[in-house]
Symmetry: C2
Subunit: 371 residues, 2 copies
């Protein structure tokens, strides 16, 4: 194997695929990145069996071949090289030499026969989506994935495609997060559960530019996302996702319109009293055109007021402040609507276009609500 490639391209490809290198494994090649040169393409692959990432660099391939290189050492070396063309050469014993100018680095490589390459599928159904949109809908829902080991489906997100809508849902025992976007293909019908960990890695490798396109491909057991020169494959979680339609109600008796930043800042400040373990609720006391928020703890107390528009009943209700800040941080709108019913029924934050819904269960205030 012998090829030349731009240091920057190679560095970017390594930092993309390295997210799929397993943290621990007994397999010989598992902590490696596969480097496979053919047809003026240098293909890099990492695979942790839950998830695989492939990234292709364009270069000049002088001799086809492949090698497995220890991922961290390979990344460190390429990162530390000057920004220039570099040449990579591998002999039949997998000794891999990285040349630049008169200097050379020999890395002891490994054979590629036993490397778990990225799986190849017959793609059938697919969905085109802006890279940026996919990145955003992950960010706006991933925080409420459950960390409960016992329920594996809740450790993933539901991606549901029906009637020209992609709906992404995550939930734990206390809250539900939903993002909905319209898609062009009205006939596509899919329902898959994607592991949260994979989505987190996908989020990190998706580009920040708003004009790149990604394609989601579906098989029975895998989601494949292709974008730019990258292919991302993850296994799906098998099982039936919680049927959230039963808990989503559009009925309410109180509707508030409020400045999102003011609400976020206030709830965020209240968290100074809500240290670990000390699960203090912030109380929202909703009156005519004003919401008063307060919290009492062993370390002190707070009380703030924010002007609102309100329709419906007055209400006093308590929430875990972290659940509120998580949802509010995910929303980009300047002004938001809160829908409430009773002190024991959930809060819904949703926009008029129904592009997002955040449901949060209240905390039972007991005596505290009366202060």
């Amino acid at each position: 194997m012998k090829f030349s490639v731009s240091k920057n391209d190679l560095q970017n490809a390594i930092s993309t695929v390295i997210k799929a290198v397993p943290v621990k494994s007994n397999l010989t090649n598992a902590d490696c990145i596969l480097v496979d040169a053919k047809d003026d393409e240098i293909r890099l692959v990492a695979n942790n069996s839950e998830m695989a990432i492939e990234c292709i660099c364009t270069g000049r391939v002088l001799e086809e071949g492949s090698v497995c290189l220890e991922s961290k050492m390979f990344q460190e070396l390429i990162r530390k090289l000057p920004d220039d063309l570099i040449e990579v050469e591998c002999d039949k014993n997998y000794l891999t030499t990285v040349h630049y100018k008169d200097n050379k680095y020999d890395l002891i490589g490994k054979e590629t026969d036993t490397f778990n390459d990225i799986p190849v599928f017959d793609y059938k159904e697919h969905l085109d989506i802006f890279e940026f949109s996919l990145k955003e809908i992950i960010r706006q829902t991933i925080f409420s994935i459950s960390d409960n080991e016992a329920n594996k489906t809740l450790r993933g997100e539901l991606f549901e495609i029906k009637d020209g809508i992609l709906r992404v849902v995550s939930l734990d025992g206390q809250r539900v997060s939903i993002r909905r976007i319209e898609i062009e293909d009205k006939s596509l019908n899919k329902k898959i559960i994607v592991p949260g960990k994979s989505l987190n890695d996908l989020f990190n490798i998706l580009g920040k530019e708003s004009n790149g396109m990604a394609t989601m491909h579906f098989t029975d057991n895998h989601l494949i996302v292709t974008f730019e020169s990258t292919t991302f494959v993850t296994r799906l979680i098998d099982g039936e996702f919680f049927n959230i339609d039963n808990v989503l109600s559009k009925e309410y008796s109180t509707k508030i319109t409020i400045n999102k930043k003011e609400l976020y800042d206030c709830v965020d400040r209240s968290t100074i009293f809500a240290r670990e373990g000390d699960k203090k609720a912030i109380v929202l006391s909703i009156g005519e055109n004003i919401i008063e928020m307060y919290m009492n703890s062993s370390k002190g107390s707070m009380r703030e007021k924010i002007e609102i528009e309100k329709s419906g009943n007055d209400l006093k209700i308590g929430f875990n402040p972290k659940y509120l800040t998580d949802a509010l941080r995910a929303i980009d709108d300047e002004t938001i609507h809160l829908y409430l019913s009773t002190p024991k029924s959930p809060l819904f934050i949703r926009d008029d276009a129904d592009s997002f819904t955040y449901m949060i269960l209240p905390v039972n205030l007991g005596v505290e609500g009366d202060r």
Copy 2:
């Protein structure tokens, strides 16, 4: 106590003094910051008995008084407040209320009688120095402080003032770092050992602007540094510092002039083979106008060449690459001189003005040097 102050000023003062709040302590008030309002000055103090920091904010004091506030909660609250004037008020039970607009935060404060306030000294001798210079000489020497618990003097840096020169020295068993700067006062004569941990904190609170002045005051057991509105006090380490003058030789048989960045980048790349525990040496093979550097390890090997100017003998010598990169990172010069004698005698890196000297002991190469 009652005062008003700019949120930003208060936030900056808290983040300065909080470095002296002890991590763990049994004293009631130890995890607190003292807030003391008097004469339109709000004085903040933290003290961990090794080191104390005081910072003064200008504000409007409506009622004199003082309170101790739990440092992290106080910092978090002020940080999260909007950038505005805030009012702080404390009642006779030390319940402290932070007001802004119509909103209020009550923090449960503590009494101040048992708080270990910053000590007050009769300053006698002092040295004026640019804040920036003090920050730089700490950065350029602190990395070679010994972490050997057994020798307490080496866990600090020597600050030696004599004949119009401030010389700062740190050393561990393998290397010595020295910075020298000229000072105006030719009569001052001082020799103190300042704890490395205190210097690290001082480094972090010194301003980055180049035109601020700091004053170092000396007592028998303390160094006091005042700058802007901050007073920093640290205990000194008692004892006799290692006499480095015996090991500093200006004799050499090989002198190299080399581009610092090229040398740094090369040695830094070699560290990819020098993982933890695996104490590999980088070999410097010095020939006529060229230096060849190489390293062999179980993971691979490297070989690089850099053009140099050389006078004197050829030489082959090995070093721990980390010791080289630490010293090279501290040097700002573009071109540097290396002075060497034999494969077993130390390397000296020093400038013509004698403003810095880095001495590094070589590694015994044994067979490796012959490859």
